[in-house]
């Protein structure tokens, strides 16, 4: 069988086994209205991408839903929003499809079920890991070290041995990367593949979209973060969270380089690179996540998919706790509370790695792919 025949067979099999959910059918109905209306074409990448299509296959809808940044502009501007009979509500419908696609493309596939009741699962795993870390610390570490101030080189590792940190974090993070990469491949194939060679220009464009979160800008003047007024709050808060997260990641990486390459052992001085990166990263992460939670509480609930809120709150909460325990660890690292804080922080980070491929976090992967495909499509015309 040739490759194309295989693909066709694949598609047929998929069609035969996958029955479409209500959200997909609803999205197809809504797209028919939007495609004849097009008033929202100035808001984001979704509407120009929609206008290139006449028929909306399952894969098209998955792509458009993951391209959508949930800015709610097209809901507040919609002449057909509920209570109009057409009841057009793109942000809520697309959010539901996004969640379903996270489940569909999860790897291993059986783990897709983790996206149901995701809030409970993420919160549960975090609680479990923190408890375990604390119990283990109490059980394994000499109590005289756990509760007293530890100073000097290698202070942290007298609480939790470095090999254990490396093993646990390495294994869980490694698995998360593998699972997310498999998810990315499955998603990419399932939504139609690349359809041509990958050139640098669209990749650069997609990278700019990711780094600037352009589509959360409402075409320049802002999004409907809370109600029908425009603001860039969510964009800047997500940027704070995103770059805060990246700085924390960079802090850990430079810490590891210091340790393994230069043999410089932690704890490092406050003005050292890893501590500076971690401090500012932690501050940004806390500001971003706390701010996003605030927006979630006060925003107009109609264009929001309620089913997803649990998982989003749980992830925001987890990231906030990681950031804040990291900062607290810095504050108390020369006191007797350090051991407790370290175990807490480490438990939270481990739980984050563990839930990573089965949480809100996969949106970064699928959105990135959607932006890349969109950049290619736009160039192809």
């Amino acid at each position: 069988m040739s490759a194309t025949e295989m693909n066709k067979l694949d598609a047929l099999l998929r069609e035969a086994t996958v029955t479409e959910s209500d959200a997909y059918q609803e999205a197809r109905r809504q797209m028919a209205v939007c495609n004849a209306c097009r008033y929202c074409e100035g808001y984001c990448a979704v509407f120009p991408a929609m206008a290139m299509r006449r028929e909306f296959e399952t894969a098209d809808l998955t792509h458009l839903a993951n391209l959508c940044h949930g800015c709610k502009g097209c809901y507040h501007a919609c002449q057909y929003a509920p209570p109009h009979a057409f009841g057009i509500n793109i942000p809520a419908t697309f959010a539901t499809i996004r969640q379903e696609s996270y489940a569909q493309y999860a790897w291993p596939p059986a783990m897709g079920r983790a996206f149901e009741k995701n809030g409970t699962i993420v919160a549960g795993v975090a609680t479990l890991f923190v408890t375990l870390a604390l119990l283990l610390a109490v059980a394994l570490v000499d109590p005289s070290k756990l509760w007293t101030a530890q100073t000097g080189t290698g202070a942290f590792f007298r609480i939790i041995p470095l090999w254990l940190i490396n093993a646990l974090a390495g294994a869980s993070f490694g698995f998360a990367i593998l699972a997310m990469a498999m998810g990315a491949i499955r998603y990419w194939r399932g939504t139609g593949g690349l359809g041509g060679p990958l050139t640098p220009a669209p990749a650069a464009e997609a990278a700019v979209d990711v780094l600037t979160l352009r589509n959360l800008g409402g075409g320049g003047h802002g999004c409907n973060d809370v109600d029908d007024s425009f603001a860039q709050q969510r964009r800047w808060l997500h940027q704070a969270m995103f770059y805060g997260f990246m700085l924390c990641f960079a802090a850990t990486t430079t810490g590891a380089i210091y340790h393994h390459v230069f043999g410089w052992k932690s704890p490092h001085a406050f003005f050292s690179l890893p501590v500076q990166l971690g401090t500012w990263g932690g501050v940004l992460l806390c500001i971003g996540t706390a701010g996003l939670m605030r927006v979630k509480v006060i925003t107009d609930p109609v264009p929001v998919a309620r089913k997803l809120m649990g998982g989003e709150y749980a992830m925001l909460g987890l990231l906030f706790l990681i950031g804040s325990t990291g900062l607290l660890l810095l504050a108390v690292r020369h006191t007797g509370a350090m051991g407790f804080m370290l175990a807490l922080h480490f438990g939270l980070v481990l739980s984050f790695f563990a839930v990573l491929p089965y949480s809100k976090m996969v949106h970064g992967v699928y959105r990135g792919i959607a932006l890349l495909r969109n950049a290619r499509e736009r160039r192809a015309g």
Binding site: A32, A36, R38, G42, H76, S229
Partner: protein, 465 residues
């Protein structure tokens, strides 16, 4: 609970663009303003909710419009579509003032965008609202709130007491309860009467039952009728309205813009008796868009069917509802409930009359018929590439032109030709002053913005004196 005991400076009737522009202008001039909108909040803003752009004169390229569009050309366009049935002085005043309409709206928070796809190529003459009319209304209502304008939803103004050319008080139904509102000046901006089928029946008989009302169901014309019955001068032909070819399967009210079909120039159109009745390719669609509603309204049963094929189907915007689709014309006829033999003959006669030419979808080309009545003058290609597609059509009424007469300060004129002491009007309720017939895309919002500002200014000035 609003304060119904106080005397407001200005009462604005309506909650669409024309009303909001008047209310904001009056409030900015220092007047205390109360605005009554018949609809509940989610459906506020009347027909303005469904709009997309306004037509503005501009001497050079702007951020959102290309090239220039000068007074003479604008006036010429208007004169042509109205066949001269207009008021030149008033029209020219409106055209000149339209230049400043986008800046005014922008000062209220409205955002404009360059036009992109599917907009009947109006990027030179019209400024487009980012997100459309609902987004525009959101901005205007926010500005009203900022200015402290008392905005009442679910509040229908039922009667204005008029004594010797002066409006004295309003009888309203507020959240279902009767109330009175007292004021010093009145601005009537409550739209046309197109959603009032009984009123339409007076002129159109049973045919009115088959008209789809594209916009707000609140356009009942209550205040228009009320004022005309109390000595206000009438202007405009009551049978005239703006109407387009809508999908026959659309909701009877509030289906909005997405229900219109743009397939006509790339199809042939037959009526219920399976006869063609008008040149589908007379001119480019933006110029013919607004006549097809009326043409269909005049056909038996107020229905028509546009038939085309797979060759043409990508030349126009997609429809919301799937078209009829079949591999033969007979198959199309079956789905449309028409006589197959007759439809086959119409298509065959048409195909036989098509002369070869070079097809250019956006500009009038030399693809036409010869020896066919009525002819198809442009974009005529043989309909012979299955699958065939067809769209059922009905008239979609946008708004009626029957109006209260106004002067160039938006003052309402009484039957004796004298301006009322304290009544002003803007928007559809006075559209017939300029639109004797016909329509220019984007002129409705221009009328509302220009006369709304004049009305608000006049009302505030009256109160100050």
């Amino acid at each position: 609970m609003p304060d119904f005991s106080r005397v407001y400076d200005v009462l604005v009737v309506g909650g669409g663009n024309a009303a909001l522009c008047a209310a904001i202008t009056a409030a900015r001039a220092g007047a205390s303003v109360i605005l009554c909108e018949a609809s509940p909040p989610p459906l506020r803003g009347g027909n303005s909710r469904h709009t997309r752009n306004l037509r503005t004169m501009h001497p050079g390229p702007t951020q959102v419009m290309t090239d220039s569009y000068l007074e003479e050309e604008y006036w010429d366009d208007l004169r042509r579509v109205t066949a001269g049935k207009t008021d030149e002085a008033l029209a020219r005043m409106c055209i000149r003032a339209s230049q400043h309409a986008p800046d005014f709206l922008a000062s209220c928070g409205v955002v404009f965008q360059p036009s992109l796809s599917g907009t009947l190529s109006l990027s030179r003459t019209n400024a487009f609202f980012l997100g459309g009319g609902k987004a525009l209304l959101n901005a205007l209502y926010r500005e009203c709130a900022r200015l402290g304008i008392v905005t009442l939803y679910d509040t229908e103004v039922q009667h204005i007491k008029v004594e010797e050319g002066w409006a004295t008080e309003a009888v309203v139904s507020h959240a279902g309860f009767p109330e009175r509102i007292r004021f010093k000046a009145l601005v009537a901006s409550s739209g046309g009467f197109q959603a009032n089928r009984n009123w339409l029946r007076e002129y159109w008989g049973d045919a009115a039952d088959n008209f789809q009302i594209r916009g707000t169901p609140y356009a009942q014309g209550t205040i228009l009728k009320d004022l005309l019955a109390q000595g206000v001068q009438e202007v405009g032909d009551p049978t005239q309205f703006h109407a387009v070819a809508n999908d026959a399967r659309a909701p009877m009210e509030d289906g909005g813009l997405a229900m219109r079909l743009d397939c006509v120039p790339f199809a042939i159109v037959v009526n219920r008796n399976v006869e063609r009745f008008y040149d589908e390719g007379e001119d480019v669609w933006p110029k013919r868009y607004a006549i097809w509603g009326r043409l269909i309204a005049q056909q038996p049963g107020q229905v028509a069917l546009a038939v085309t094929d797979s060759q043409a189907v990508m030349n126009f915007l997609p429809s919301v509802y799937p078209p009829y689709k079949a591999d033969s014309i007979a198959g199309i006829a079956a789905q449309a409930g028409m006589d197959a033999a007759k439809l086959e003959k119409v298509v065959a006669d048409y195909n036989a009359a098509v002369v070869p030419g070079t097809f250019t979808p956006m500009t009038p080309d030399d693809c036409r018929t010869e020896g066919l009545t009525p002819p198809k003058s442009h974009w005529a290609r043989r309909i012979d590439k299955p699958p065939y597609y067809a769209y059922p059509l009905r008239p979609g009424i946008t708004f009626t032109f029957l109006s209260v007469k106004v002067d160039d300060k938006a003052r309402v004129l009484m039957a004796d030709g004298k301006p009322s002491g304290n009544m002003f009007a803007s928007g559809e309720i006075m559209s017939g002053n300029i639109l004797g017939q016909g329509y220019l895309a984007g002129f409705g919002m221009t009328l509302g913005t220009v006369f709304g500002r004049l009305a608000g200014e006049g009302a505030a000035k009256h109160v100050r004196n």
